[in-house]
């Protein structure tokens, strides 16, 4: 479908207005919202992630693409609801208790949303109870971020609290942030570690498929 190809290209190139126009044109032309989402937006963001990981584009360009995707998605959303298109999963994301950094967390949330996931943004300085409530409200994945060595330990406390609440089997937990490593993620009992926003998208897909 030429229009879907053009939509994908508009998102990859970061042309928000064009992406919105292509979504509107597609809907008016009778293309299903689900098709525009999967073959247009999600596929475009997958391409963007790949280009980033291959060093072909840098973070600012990735974000410009994400902005185009978000703009197009906002037009598409009501139609997705009408069609009953389910999200790929529900991700509750937040910066761990005691930590006020939000940029990295926001970036991951944006990339995940562009990849078809429903995002519950819990914000910064998130206590374990909020993650627990989000799981009770249907989150399949909890994504925790920390930028400080003093606050990353609260990730472990949150995971233990989730276990104590009897919810550990219902959720996949992923972690990230500057001081976090794969071995630390393993040590605290997380299901995965992502070093950047692009790999976080791949990781969520992997942990949900596991």
């Amino acid at each position: 479908m030429v229009l879907v190809d053009e939509l994908r290209e508009a998102v990859v190139d970061g042309q928000a207005k064009l992406a919105v126009a292509k979504v509107s044109e597609g809907l008016e032309g009778g293309i299903e919202a689900g098709t525009l989402l999967r073959e247009g937006l999600i596929e475009a963001m997958a391409q963007v992630g790949k280009l980033y990981e291959e060093g072909e584009i840098f973070v600012p360009e990735m974000l410009v693409a994400a902005r185009a995707m978000t703009a197009a998605l906002s037009v598409l959303k009501p139609h997705l609801v009408e069609e009953g298109v389910a999200s790929s999963g529900k991700v509750a994301i937040g910066t761990t208790q005691g930590d006020l950094h939000d940029i990295g967390k926001n970036l991951v949330a944006m990339m995940l949303e562009g990849s078809g996931y429903e995002i519950v943004d819990l914000g910064v300085d998130v206590p374990a109870e909020k993650f627990i409530q989000a799981i009770r409200d249907g989150a399949n994945v909890v994504a925790m971020s920390a930028l400080l060595t003093t606050t990353m330990t609260n990730m472990q406390l949150a995971i233990e609290a989730i276990k104590a609440a009897g919810l550990r089997d219902q959720v996949r937990i992923i972690v990230g942030g500057a001081p976090i490593t794969k071995s630390y993620a393993d040590e605290i009992g997380a299901d995965g570690y992502a070093e950047d926003a692009s790999s976080a998208v791949r990781l969520v897909k992997e942990v949900l498929a596991a």
Partner: protein, 229 residues
Amino acid sequence: MIRDFDLRPDADMVLRALGADPEVVRRRRSSALDIAEQAVAKGMGLLAPVVVSASFPVEEFRHERLRLEHGHLSGPLIAEHLHTARSVVVAMCTIGPALEDAASECFSEDPAMSLALDAFGSVAVDLLGTAMCQRVDEQADAEGLRTTVPLSPGLVGWPVANGQRQIFELVDVASAGIRLTEGYMMVPKKSTSMVIGIGPDVEHAGESCDYCSMAATCRYREEHISHHG
């Protein structure tokens, strides 16, 4: 409290802080360059650099603990670098909250600009630290003394919690609008704290980056403009 700093972060510095190679970005005529340039233009007016510093004579060094006039510094890193210091300069540097507020506010509408402003802030506070270190070096040099590398809480051998507690006990920074959260995070976020040892026999060994727990994986290390030298 010192405010007369002339910070000049440029677009290339912002791009490097974003993990991008300025040469590649320019060659491709990437939109990232426009974003970095706009962040510089917008960010310059939001900088409010302030350094609060104080100098403390060393009263005693014993068992990895440096006793100062109004407090102490302790830990393996402190012992390694400051055991021969005659005095210690403690400095807290911040560019103020306006820039990070602007970065957070514009995320939903323009995430690329938000991230570029955040990177601009990181560069600016790093330049501020560098400028402060130069002043301390010049002063020490004029007195025929030497300085150590700047040491910041969080480097290997000086845990964040211990270091920040010790520094905040020594210097009153409330008037500069700096505070410490329960998680030992400085607010405004674009702030840094450090100590520099001064004396005739101190050694300026290596770079601060050598003592960072993220030295092995830090992707900014090579390109990084910093006061770490």
